[in-house]
Amino acid sequence: MFEYAPAPESRSVVEIAPSYGLFIDGEFTPGKDVFKTVNPASEEVLAEVAEAGPEDVDRAVAAARRAFGTWSALPGPERARYLFRIARIIQERSRELAVLESLDNGKPIRESRDVDLPLVAAHFFYHAGWADKLEYAGFGPDPRPLGVAGQVIPWNFPLLMLAWKIAPALATGNTVVLKPAETTPLSALFFADVCRQADLPPGVVNIVTGAGDTGRHLVEHPDVNKVAFTGSTEVGRQIARAVAGTGKKLSLELGGKAANIVFDDAPIDQAVEGIVNGIFFNQGHVCCAGSRLLVQESVYEPLMESLKRRMATLRLGDPLDKNTDIGAINSAAQLARIRELSDVGAAEGAERWSPACELPEQGFWFAPTIFTGVTQAHRIAREEIFGPVLSVLTFRTPDEAVEKANNTPYGLSAGIWSDKGSRILAVADRLRAGVVWANTFNKFDPTSPFGGYKESGYGREGGRHGLEAYLA
């Protein structure tokens, strides 16, 4: 076999400070406590980060409130220019940010460099252009901002989720208090520095780091007008309850258990790539991951053979190596959950398979895994695993495929693989999912709205539709 020599991206391109404060009103300030963030690939501590208590959240919301008056009154073209600046700075500093993201999150540098960072910059660029065109967006002649947005984001795409939250909020004239996930705070804190470099007025963006309690203080804060959350359906439910009766506008982007449906007339080699990309991209830490593979029985065996052969070429290891396909699981807690659900899958009688794959000794790792012989009755076909674990089910007819695909409380995304146009359109029509990828998977674009049906949440992010979540 042609072995690739190690090709590590240089870690030294980015400077990590030993400790970080909260970013409030344009300044870094201490919080009530500190916590550590680690590199999940090595368990090495990367930095100490401030934990925001209730008073810190109060300060941040107050700063955002003070800034709201002038920021929302700023002419659209002026707001646009700040966002264009931010987009450009991110482009120029994307190598630093990509390395930082891979260090803190564990995702392969190939993905942070080629997927996350380009999308982050594009997201700011796209929304910058909206700032002075909102009256043409189709939400009435006089669209107005809501006020202070409290935003809580997950650890799977730390900077991209920040962009999905902050870019539309600022473009529409809102100010922001954002809480990044406790295991991946560093790129958000780097972003705070980007805001300063762009001379964004103090208080327009505030970053408060911390865990669940910090997030709860933020979303329950009485002076927050808008809550946006991306994360688990369970937490989303709690937030929806907390917000009930307050009049706060709420958008939720939650879990998923997407069906990736392969028909027997699929372009098979591309379908295999789509399956792999669907579930192993970002270690499967993707809410819209194609975690349920539905294969037409007439093509089951050759497809599984191709899939296994392809999985054997996946390269797991050092996230900073440019040839790594699968990086580290983000945290010990997430690894424990993936292991637990996988063990349940095996205990419930599904057949487990992974390619030969050596796992590093330090850090949090999980080999790409598929379960065959899975039925709708298995927990691994119903619960979101949020890891590199694929459940394989079969079907006989398009009707059966659609029924199985929709037989879940979730409805975020779905995949269809077929060379027959009319079949694709008919199946896409009947799938209860906010994003349907036909003959592709896990594609994202700032112009394309993203979000779920049913318990996958409500509201859309991106595109013209995404603006609605931030306008009165």
Partner: protein, 308 residues
């Protein structure tokens, strides 16, 4: 399989029953593989392997015995300054130049390929193509690069294309047959896959992308589709067929991308000059330059490498 398929007149249903190829998907996959980072020891090994896979080619109206002798000498000793540098796989010339090259290469182990069958258009009567082939083999060629009739293929006359390949294969005798699909004229990846299967069913030992004489020659995604075809063909029939991208591959970086493609699509079994070739001319000097950079630690210039 070959004979029964053909006799049953089932060629069309076989070719049209192959899975489709999604253009965007295959191009994205090829581009992703193109981002593999091959450095240091891996790069050194890749360069030597790539040199051993080169079909060093001259196919010009202006070719002369002098030019072909010089090229053949270079095939044997690509880097006269470094005896550790391996020879290339083969020399590839027009049939008229075969005896000249044969003289230089005799007994060296470097193969001698010739483009027969009314190269590059293939627009000649079958008798002419067969005579062309027999002449080349008689002159010492042990590999024949034939072109298919793209016109017949695009018109759906699959039997015609099939029969021609079978006839040329017979005329080759012991010489290996590489079938040039001229993928730049086939228009779709679906056609590339079908033409690959057609050629393999008819007995091709290698399938080759291009003549180098039309604007679009070898590309990564086309080669990816062809590699998938030889992989699937072996799985179905047990017979292994080689792949040769030709035309437009000029840099070490390009060549390494192709090796990555092999590595991650069909694996080890094809990572050998017996099963993979580069049809190229200027590629060799770039490989040599990169090779020298790795051994000496500094960059070289064109004056330090032989012209041909």
């Amino acid at each position: 399989m070959t004979a029964t398929l053909h006799q049953a007149g089932d060629l069309r249903s076989v070719l049209h029953g192959l899975p489709g190829v999604d253009k965007v998907g295959v191009e994205a996959r090829a581009a992703a593989l193109g981002t593999r980072s091959v450095k240091t020891t891996a790069k050194a090994a890749a360069i030597d392997l790539a040199i051993r896979m080169v079909d060093l080619t001259t196919l010009e109206g202006s070719d002369t015995p002098g030019k072909v002798r010089a090229l053949s000498a270079k095939a044997l000793r690509p880097d006269p300054a470094d005896p550790s540098c391996p020879p290339v796989a083969a020399i590839c010339v027009y049939p008229a130049m075969v005896p000249v090259a044969a003289e230089v290469l005799a007994g060296s182990g470097v193969h001698l390929a010739s483009v027969a069958t009314a190269f590059p258009s293939g627009q000649a009567p079958l008798a002419v193509k067969l005579a062309d082939t027999r002449d080349a083999v008689a002159g010492g060629a042990d590999e024949i690069d034939m072109v298919i009739s793209r016109g017949a293929f695009l018109a759906g006359r699959y039997d015609h294309v099939f029969d021609e390949i079978v006839a040329v294969k017979q005329a080759c005798g012991d010489a290996h047959l590489k079938v040039i699909l001229e993928t730049g004229e086939l228009g779709t990846y679906d056609n590339v896959r079908r033409a690959s299967w057609l050629a393999m069913l008819a007995g091709a030992d290698f399938i080759k992308t291009s003549t180098g004489k039309v604007p679009v020659a070898a590309t990564l995604p086309v080669t990816l589709v062809m590699l998938e075809a030889v992989r699937d063909f072996r799985a179905r029939t047990g017979r292994q067929v080689g792949v040769k991208p030709a035309g437009g591959i000029r840099t070490t970086k390009d060549a390494i991308k192709y090796l990555v493609l092999i590595n991650e699509t069909v694996g080890d079994d094809w990572l050998s000059p017996d099963w993979f070739r580069f049809g190229a001319s200027s590629l060799l000097n770039d490989l040599l330059m990169q090779r020298t950079k790795l051994t000496t630690g500094h960059y070289a210039g064109p004056d330090y490498f032989t012209l041909d």
